[in-house]
């Protein structure tokens, strides 16, 4: 996409986050500024566990940063916003609700009327390929299926930005590949801005239009990569492997 056509959807300015743990100050995020473009698939990649998840929580409004601000379509944001949806890593499907009930959840919170709710939720259940499982409980589903419910749920509120926090982290390698193809398909069919957090370099290069590489804690932006490969990408093709190696060499090791 030519540069002048890219519109900034989300802007982060000087975001920093610290915590007090056992009377010691722990810096998780250090002065991150970032522009996210409309309808792009942005991947945030980083070693270890701090930094990227915290950043995502801040964008989603689950945490308030000690410093910095965020702007959506130029408008300053505080806290959570309907226009930003989230898919959690630890599934966070409510075990006492059926698939349909879980997917409807956001609409229920927004007090959407029942038949309309069903209709919209069904649309997304079909989109992620779970038709027929509406009455099942999460405990009856496989890992990949549970993640699809999480994705459907996030889509129902029609968010403009979709945050995904290592959604495939708990899945085995092969299910993960299947889900990567799946999220790409869903994104093609219903284009949104996606901010996708992962610690898997191959996944990042497979999915991202751009990759933001974070340093290890305290996290700052180490480098931003533009991935110009045509989709769908081939993970064993030489150019792919070359980019992967470049990013891997640049990534900090967090033992």
């Amino acid at each position: 996409m030519p540069v002048d056509e890219k519109r900034v959807k989300l802007r982060l300015e000087n975001i920093s986050q610290s915590y007090v743990v056992n009377n010691k100050v722990f810096d998780a995020v250090s002065n991150i500024s970032l522009d996210v473009y409309d309808n792009e698939f942005l991947v945030i990649l980083g070693p270890g566990h701090c930094g990227k998840s915290v950043l995502l929580n801040i964008i989603g409004g689950l945490e308030k940063p000690v410093e910095g601000s965020k702007y959506l379509d130029g408008e300053k944001l505080t806290g959570s916003d309907k226009r930003i949806g989230m898919v959690f890593q630890k599934l966070a499907l409510m075990p006492w609700k059926t698939v349909m009930s879980n997917v409807e959840f956001g609409l229920q919170m927004a007090s959407v009327e029942k038949t309309k709710r069903r209709e919209i939720a069904q649309q997304y259940i079909d989109l992620v390929g779970l038709k027929g499982f509406e009455k099942s409980y999460p405990s009856q589903l496989s890992g990949g299926m549970k993640q699809r419910v999480g994705i459907a749920r996030a889509y129902t509120n029609n968010p403009e930005i979709l945050l995904m926090d290592e959604p495939f982290g708990q899945l085995d390698a092969q299910t993960r590949y299947a889900m990567q193809e799946e999220i790409q398909r869903v994104w093609y069919q219903q284009k949104r801005t996606i901010i996708f957090v992962t610690n898997n370099i191959e996944e990042a290069v497979y999915l991202g239009d751009r990759i933001v590489l974070l340093s290890k804690c305290p996290a700052s932006v180490k480098q931003i990569y533009n991935i110009d490969l045509p989709r769908p990408r081939d993970t064993i093709e030489p150019k792919f492997l070359a980019i992967r190696k470049e990013i891997s060499d640049n990534t900090d090791l967090a033992l």
Binding site: G60, I84, M86, F88, Y137
Partner: protein, 274 residues
Amino acid sequence: MEKIVIQQGIVLSESEKKEIRQNRIYKILPVVSIILLSALWLFASKEVLGFPSPAETWERFTQLLEKPIKALSLWGHIFVSLQRVFLALVLSWIIGISFGILLGWSEKCNALFGPVFTAFRAVPPLALIPLITIWFGTGEGPKVLLVFIGALMPVVVNTQAGMRNVNKLYLDVGTIFNATDRQKLFQIAIPSALDAIFAGVRTSASAAWMVVLAAEMLGAKAGVGFLIIRGMDSGDEALVLLSMICIGIVGAMLAVATQIAEGVLCPWTRKGSN
């Protein structure tokens, strides 16, 4: 080489057959222990003076069916005890669950009522019997009150714990979807705490049963506890033993009933995972 037996199209090796044999033994063992217990009973009845034998107890049972005590048959007495229990239980659930939710969800309420409640909880309901008897006498009311107090504690404690242990992740999901506090309470916290609430309900059922018996033993005109006292007073050991057996069976049935209810009301706890 191994001998392979084909049973209805299923192939089993020696080692697997051994496993199956072992599992069968596990099923037989409970029956064995019941037989041993009965043997012990017979032995006791022969050796210990006055201890009624199984035969005598059974005879007393059939006698009781024909000749009621204080105008009530055995079933009548059981029914009276159960009646007291149910009334007190239902009250304790309504009040206990509400109070538990309040304590578990609101920091202010917890700070206000929490410490006092914890202190009060430490007093066993049986210790309150003398006080309640002095204040309220020995009618139906005070008995139900006593059972109510005994049943209330576990319900509140478990409900509160369930509410405090709601997984923060689910509340985060609520935040992302802009749920109001009220929505979070009713749509997320309470359903999430249902299994803890049920644990409280189950405990309260057995607690209630124990308290009602104690309350009856100390002054009642009907009920299973009363039967025990009657038996003791008139040297009718068979009646005492019979009543104890009934108490055990009814208690067990109550436990099973609450477990079935939980399975029905909380289907997600029973579904197998993949």
